[in-house]
Symmetry: C2
Amino acid sequence: MNYSDRLADIQPFFVMEVLSRAKALEREGRDIIHLEIGEPDFPTPPLVVERATEFLRRGEVRYTPAAGLPELREAIAKYYLDRYGVRVASERIFVTPGASGAFLLAMGLLLNPGDKVLLADPGYPCYANFVRLYGGTPALVPVGAESRFHVNSEILAAHWDDRTKGAVIASPSNPTGTVLYPEELNALVDEIERRSGFLIADEIYHGLEYEKPSPTALTYSDRVFVVNSFSKYFGMTGWRLGWLVVPADSIDNAEKLAQNMFISAPAPSQYGALASFKEENLQELERRRRVFQDRRDYLCDQLRKIGFSLNTIPSGAFYVYAGCSRLTSNSLDFAMGLLEKTGVALTPGKDFGKNSPETHLRFSYAVTLARLADALSRIRRFVQG
Amino acid sequence: MNYSDRLADIQPFFVMEVLSRAKALEREGRDIIHLEIGEPDFPTPPLVVERATEFLRRGEVRYTPAAGLPELREAIAKYYLDRYGVRVASERIFVTPGASGAFLLAMGLLLNPGDKVLLADPGYPCYANFVRLYGGTPALVPVGAESRFHVNSEILAAHWDDRTKGAVIASPSNPTGTVLYPEELNALVDEIERRSGFLIADEIYHGLEYEKPSPTALTYSDRVFVVNSFSKYFGMTGWRLGWLVVPADSIDNAEKLAQNMFISAPAPSQYGALASFKEENLQELERRRRVFQDRRDYLCDQLRKIGFSLNTIPSGAFYVYAGCSRLTSNSLDFAMGLLEKTGVALTPGKDFGKNSPETHLRFSYAVTLARLADALSRIRRFVQG
Ligand SMILES: Cc1ncc(COP(=O)(O)O)c(C=O)c1O
Ligand SMILES: Cc1ncc(COP(=O)(O)O)c(C=O)c1O
């Protein structure tokens, strides 16, 4: 069989190796602490489960309109007004199978073969692969602590060339947890518009912020594409539900593509998600946010004491991207050795790009404080040999 | 904004116009009979709802492995053995967000820009758009009653050229409901293998067959890509769950792509689907199949009496693709007029390709016999002026 050329450029995730070894150890009876995980440890909020169950009981689980249930699109529009003070017409909101589906849709709308798309390195590895899927060229831009691991307007300007069509940004970022400040985001949006490029802003970790809540990119322009999801802040990973906000003149095209690619997002998830925006649920999410914040404070403090370097504040998401150059020059070996010896699973830097991955490790704090403390003392013992 | 060139080639579905006019009429209080629908009218089988609800009650709705829950993949493998007598290793089965997701995955694996893919015309319109999504070129092959609206091995050979990389077939077919016979399928599989091309066999309407059950393409080769879904026979459209069977040497590539594109299929749907293969559920599905069969017999008979032509037997799915040349030379106008005057909604031939669409209409029999009878007397009055 002749496979597509794009497959040669798509790497499997190293964390899968970690995970499969972790599972093998668990089968042998070892206690593994999972700090490699990319999803909240909280269960789906009860109101969401209840609403979905109610819907299922009727048994009428049909295709929904391709863009999503009108009432869910309206609830999301209202959320933009309530949370950010930004008016977004519900017609611009496309409900998708996760943020993953939103990226499939957005890049399908925007990319032609050969188009270059700027991406922060380190960054979420799927962005580059979505670009490759459509024959585009991911342009990885090395970013560091100086710019809080973000592509800001100056960095963007320095890397933009004739073939560049746009950029993807994520704030708070995976794997770094760092945020773009409002004025930086504003400047970035302006810079891209000046160049008539597109901006896809991944706001999936909005809500999980521990200094100040971020503004949405929609605050500064109604020409940006905004991706969001019920996975992280709303605690609904396995439900596979997200959304894409498109400019008004993209609605028809987005509709056409969504019909073909997805038919619709899962109906039980859409009904469940209707309960996400209830005051009682938002209060529960705020409690969870504070739990994450406590874990973050503790984890950052302890990691520094062990000898990891944290030159920026991870102000959001549930990740710390720690420098480990004082402890190892090969973070993948370090992660594998740590897992083998102590049962603590981490994600090696290699999964996030080519910018010094061998001296970085991602710690996820989607485990309880007690488990985090246990993990940290295991790591301390491992490091002290 | 500069949109992707591929959008220019993707047409919106005409049935959406029909549907939106039908909804407007319903808001005015008109009674609309929906024969344009592409999903079964039965509710999700109770055992599936029960199993999903049980899963939701625990609240632990996480990402699953990218290829799907191991127990679901094994249940599907067992289904191939029980139903078709074919052994398929569960590792070759990828659980996807609908057959739609299976096509996104399969074409992502197989297509390079410029590759030609043979498709039956009339056919399911999304196939061509999946091909375009990845920069491929859909080659529509006109087929008629002589080949039961299928691309058989002779037709394939006549249309294959240097740029052709493979073909998509669907039996039973949407919109025609016709099937490829086992020996035709076998010859087609052989012919494509001889040419080192790929075959994607869409078996989504398997199970909904009213003459003989079809063999799976996997009977004849383990090199074919087979798409299937819980949407139609299993009655789970809104759950968005399907699967793709890949050749053994494609497993790693499929895994890489699925991780990036979907992360995973919806977890509640996967747990629910586990109940699909229980004997009690399969018996319920058999009862439903027989109900479809009665409707088909009645519909075909009545349509002929009204003056539609049916030169083949629609032996599967829940569609009849009727010739209307004795009644109109513009099936879109006919459908719009029929809707306006009588409240019966149909899908015009235009949605299924360029092969005499103006003299064909698709009738779906996903409504009760009583409603079908009502629709047919309305159509009779309309036709008689
Ligand atoms: C930055 C980022 N974007 C998008 C996604 C995709 O999430 P989902 O498809 O579950 O919404 C993830 C998942 O980990 C992520 O970390
Ligand atoms: C022939 C055919 N293939 C694939 C699909 C996609 O179905 P799903 O994504 O719901 O599994 C459909 C839906 O109507 C269809 O008719």
